[in-house]
Amino acid sequence: MSNLPNIYDLEEDKSARDLTFLFISSGEQDIIKAIQYSFVQNLHGRAVYNLGFGDYDPEADVIIDNINTNNGDAYKVLHTVLSTIPGFFRNYPDAYLMVQGSDGRPEFIKNCRTTCTKNCDEECKNFNRRINIYRHYVNKNYEQLNIDYQFLGGAMQADSSIYLEDYATHKAYDSVILLKRNV
């Protein structure tokens, strides 16, 4: 993730609890994108940070993380987000990094059906779409990434508990958790 080609220039800002990156997605329009690694809580004696990613709306001065911009530069945006992960671990070398999509919330499917034009049958095609994009990248590059990072996959069980296990590329997960290996 440290040598990704074709990425946007980033503005970095570190505060006491969070690490934030900003960049401008220059596709069909210019959109300011924000990435923030926020402290969540401790797990097994390590700090857990969540990766947040969304668009900055300068008029409303808010971040929006539940829309698909379709700006024509999806891969460049994805690579730019991924390129910040080594920087995160330079700042927090012992932390867990948790990645979840904003379209994985329990209420997402109900909300999606009110506006969606995809005519999905029982399974909502947009549900967990974002985490699947990250998973696809991990699966495709797993051998290389596994040298530097340990991956865990989280999946909700029938009793609503979350089962966290060593990542398997053939399995579907609703969260991915990374830990930097001491290599």
Binding site: D9, D13, I24, A34, G52, Q100, I162, E165
Partner: protein
């Protein structure tokens, strides 16, 4: 005496790097994704692990 009048709605061109610095200063110390952090907390409270 000539007085300079600034028209409302006048656009000023800001270089991209300057724009990002400006936005960074506006967003400084703000939790940008509070809902996601809350979701993550709830999620982690339900975690059972099996990893080595």
């Amino acid at each position: 005496m000539n007085t300079k009048v600034k028209k409302s709605g006048e656009l000023v061109k800001v270089p991209k790097s300057g724009l990002l610095s400006l936005v960074a200063s506006k967003l400084k110390d703000r939790v940008l994704f509070p809902q996601k952090v809350e979701d993550a907390k709830k999620y982690l409270q339900k975690v059972k692990t099996s990893h080595s």
